[in-house]
């Protein structure tokens, strides 16, 4: 983990509790639940809405379009190089709202904890949730905690929902993607999936690859305010990686997408790990990369803008939407060959040789 995170951990010492692991009792709603939540969740994530400790949150929203999303996080292991399940849950939901052309504002946070989870792990997750919220400028306004018997979960699952105001100039809609649109990727790919693989039981390998998890709650509003409706569509390239997102778009629209391998950056260590593991980086998950479909004439300007962002140094135009090969994504390889890039079929399985 990076230095500032260690500093954060040190500046938020774990409250003194008379238990070290989470048990069924902590999900009972009784005294133990209160002990856990008061000392942990409520203090740490305190804001005027959550402090009410009501069954739900009553928040002010201005008139206009709102975006609403939900997602569940079941990543294993829960701690991985560059992050943990907590910040993933906040960034993921924030980013889903951003992909609607919205600025995320309010988040709900629900835990399903398997009994036996060390309280110190829960605390570590909470402080990263707090940090992710602060960085993205969002508030956790309501939540829930349940505990399940050992063996009925996997340490901790998190569900987050979020709402955010759709930006006034945004017009993000799949139907607005047209042949001639440029396809832009916001950064290099495949870091998150490989970071997870590097610590997964039975596959551990030494590497300096860290997850790319980050929020888009600043860059997307910036892009929308600058380029407005010329940004036609946005998707984050999470599960299934870049190729899955592109295939979804190509198939939904029944248009072709052509991409150029040499425009897509893969970090050298990530690429090496993919070679060794027999994985294709195009199918590996990202948590800090989005794809933008934009009007041809603004593409280079969009890339410049994303490159100026700290998580977008490898942003690039990687391809275009075309009337040719409808429903298919065709990759032009670095050596000049072409191949169809298919939708991932189930889980990506490592090859033997």
């Amino acid at each position: 983990m990076s230095d500032h995170r260690s500093i954060l951990s040190a500046s938020c010492p774990m409250p003194k509790l008379d238990f070290e692991i989470i048990t069924m009792g902590h999900g009972s709603g009784g005294l133990l639940t209160h002990k856990l939540l008061d000392a942990g969740v409520f203090d740490l994530l305190s804001n005027e809405f959550l402090d009410k400790q009501h069954d739900g949150a009553i928040v002010d929203v201005s008139a206009g379009k709102m975006a609403f999303t939900t997602d569940s996080y079941v990543v294993s292991p829960i701690f991985f190089p560059g992050g943990n399940i907590g910040e993933l849950a906040i960034n993921g939901t924030v980013n889903d709202l951003c992909m609607c052309g919205a600025k995320a504002e309010f988040i709900s946070l629900s835990f399903i904890i398997e009994e036996g989870l060390p309280v110190k792990d829960f605390w570590e997750i909470l402080i990263h949730i707090k940090q992710a919220c602060d960085l993205a400028g969002v508030k956790v306004v309501t939540g829930d905690t349940k505990v399940v018997e050992r063996g009925k979960g996997d340490k901790i699952f998190i569900n987050t929902s979020g709402i955010g105001k759709v930006l006034p100039d945004a017009s993000i809609d799949l139907d607005r993607v047209k042949p001639g649109d440029k396809v832009i990727i916001s950064n290099d790919i495949a870091k998150h999936g490989i970071a997870i693989m590097s610590v997964r039981e039975g596959l551990e390998f030494e590497s300096d690859i860290v997850s790319d998890t980050c929020h888009f709650n600043a860059i997307v509003p910036e892009l929308i305010s600058r380029f407005g409706e010329d940004i036609h569509f946005l998707r984050d390239a999470t599960r299934g990686g870049l190729s899955t997102i592109l295939n979804e778009v190509a198939q939904s629209l029944n248009k072709g997408i052509t991409i150029h391998q040499k425009a897509i950056t893969v970090d050298e260590s990530v690429s090496g790990a993919c070679e060794l593991l027999g994985l294709d980086p195009l199918y590996v998950a990202n948590e800090g990369v989005f794809v933008a479909f934009v009007k041809n004439s603004i593409a280079d300007h969009v890339v410049d803008k994303i490159r100026a962002w700290k998580n977008g140094s490898h942003a690039a135009v990687i391809g275009e939407v075309t009337e040719r090969h409808p429903g298919q994504v065709v990759l032009h390889s670095e050596i000049g060959g072409r191949r169809v890039v298919n939708m991932l079929l189930g889980e990506q399985l490592p090859r033997i040789c």
């Binding site: 039975g202 596959l203 052509t258 050298e268 690429s271 090496g272 070679e275 593991l277 027999g278 294709d280 040719r324 090969h325 298919q328 065709v330 990759l331 032009h332 390889s333 670095e334 050596i335 000049g336 060959g337 072409r338 191949r339 169809v340 298919n342 079929l345 189930g346 399985l349 490592p350 090859r351 033997i352 040789c353």
Partner: protein, 368 residues
Amino acid sequence: MKYLSEYRNPELVKKYLDEIRQACTRPWMIMEVCGGQTHSIVKNGLLQLLPEEITMVHGPGCPVCVTPMHLIDKAVYLALKEKVILCSFGDMLRVPGSTDSLLEAKSKGADVRILYSPLEAVKLARENPDKQVVFFAVGFETTAPANALSVIHAHRESLKNYAILASHVLVPPAIDAVMNDEMVKIQGFLAAGHVCTIMGIREYQPLVDKYKVPIVVTGFEPVDILHGILMVVKQLEKGEFKLENQYARVVRPEGNPDAIKVIEEVFEITDREWRGVGNIPLSGYQVKAKYSEFDANIKFSIKMPKVEENPECIAGQVLKGIKKPHECPQFGKGCTPERPLGAPMVSSEGACAAYYHFSKISGQLTEV
């Protein structure tokens, strides 16, 4: 990534393509034996770059594709047994058995683990003394030393809860079987570089002599493959047949004697059934009697009924290059990567899957 990027160099690719075009005066049919080569050909889009005269046949060198169905059934049966941890290389999991794949067994509660090294399975056995750990030892000669080594380690540690389900296959007998078929029209071979890294190249000379075909031991990067094709074409055009080694930066003529020693310690050669091809004499490895306590077949005395392959699947003819995948009536209809009838449609290295993905654009190549 040095040592790889120079073999993906677009200028070198162009140079070799130009040389192949210049060397080629008539049609030639060449088989790349190894699934890894097929994968590279498809991934890099090499087929469209080659001149029309060259027909590449994707050979039987995909271990996932040729592992017989009853062995998958055995693995599934073991995986579903209580207190068994079944370990496998990743891409075996989706291969259909007669009822289930290992992936389906996993969803039914079987403890199936994807590993990269059989030594990890030995570690699992050490850490789980109350469980039986079985490694599904699939592959060609390339993976045999590591699988054999796992048995040697388990033996040395006197582990009583480790065994392998061996399904090793050997390349030279497969080439022999392919060429023995009168219907086969293959004129040259790219032999599998990594197999030869272990075994050396000498066992291919008798095949060159017997069938009078060029065999070029070839690597896996686009430049390697095109260089290998060029070497085969040059021989064919001159009417020569020789054993050559394109992959000399990795493959020594004698192979890796230490690895061979490990293989010979644990395995002996046996007849083996190849999915889609049938029985090939002396074409596989089985665990020697002295290590029988580590042979899952013996340890669990498994007797599975032999199941017939789907008669509509023409995998055997495809793997021998007699028919192209798209000439199969079921191709893309009754048989797709989502619902494969036969194994070559399962793996990304499989001949049918390779064609399936490619052929979807083949009709529009000029437009793409």
